[in-house]
Assembly symmetry: C2
Homo-oligomer: 151 residues x 2
DNA sequence: ACAATTAATATTGTTCGCAATATAATTTCC
DNA sequence: GGAAATTATATTGCGAACAATATTAATTGT
């Protein structure tokens, strides 16, 4: 009889593409934690700062579009960042539905310290072809985002 | 003066390898949700079932080692799965520190329905070289897990 | 044998992440 | 110009995910 360990079993954990992505994300998040803690940021908060350091101000919606997160996630996260003094939140006078997110001086200054983060994370052996891997996952993200938006 | 938009800025969001992994995981989780809901499973619960369908019973520790999760995550998750009737939890009589996790009949039967999950998720266009991508991410996971354990 | 150490899991507190829903402002369309 | 539809954000409720700590059982050293 067929067992659950057959090579062509579609449910083998090691055949799931999703699982290594899930595991890598958890492991990376665990690695970023101690590095970002001295900056007073969590990993998703760090991503918000990366976006704001590139372009500021942004609306909640534009941040969500860039990071693939919705307001249910962003609103409380941004409130915590506001309480920590990193960002400002205010209604757009021209369209009161929008909330405009900007950097405080403290938030802008934090960029200097954050410059060390990437190399700190990458210290130690970096796997072969990490650049190519990044590009492949970016394509996957684009495809998933496109398919999700159509569904 | 140097702006934050320079091509070699280490803080550009699009240069971060971590971000596409994070985004892909979120997008995939969002896609699995509706597919798994009829089975009464969340995505991490589905992963636990995949492991148990391969080999049963398992301890909390062996599940955590396989999925790169600790007891703080697994204990409440397994309790919810027990409450849902998918699994059993009991102390190992030979070593009362261990909690042994097994499948109920309902949990075993669920495998039939789960057989359709992978193809349902993969329906639609699959990106070029998805196999190779899986292997690359698996290598990254192995490296990260190794480095984290040594730290 | 028994105190000290180690191992396995559980608990607590905080922060995501999302679906579903609610609220309020703006556009559209007649 | 005003009702209806749309847009943008917020709220609620639930399920992860993890650090730090606690609890209990097994193992080790003397």
């Amino acid at each position: 009889m067929a067992t659950s360990r057959e090579r062509d079993d579609p449910l083998l954990l090691d055949r799931q593409i999703c699982f290594p992505l899930y595991a890598a994300t958890n492991l990376l998040n665990r690695r970023y934690g101690p590095v970002l803690r001295p900056l007073g940021l969590t990993y998703p908060q760090y991503l918000v700062m990366l976006v704001l350091w590139e372009e500021e101000p942004q609306t909640v919606g534009s941040l969500g579009a860039r990071l693939y997160l919705d307001s249910g996630t962003l609103t409380p996260l941004l409130k915590r960042m506001e309480a920590a003094g990193h960002i400002t939140r205010s209604r757009d006078p021209d369209d009161e539905r929008r909330v405009v997110v900007g950097l405080t001086e403290k938030g802008r200054a934090l960029r200097e310290q954050a410059l060390h983060v990437p190399e700190t994370i990458a210290s130690g052996r970096t796997p072969e072809g990490i650049e190519e891997l990044g590009n492949s996952v970016r394509k996957l993200v684009a495809l998933l985002a496109d398919q999700n938006s159509k569904a």
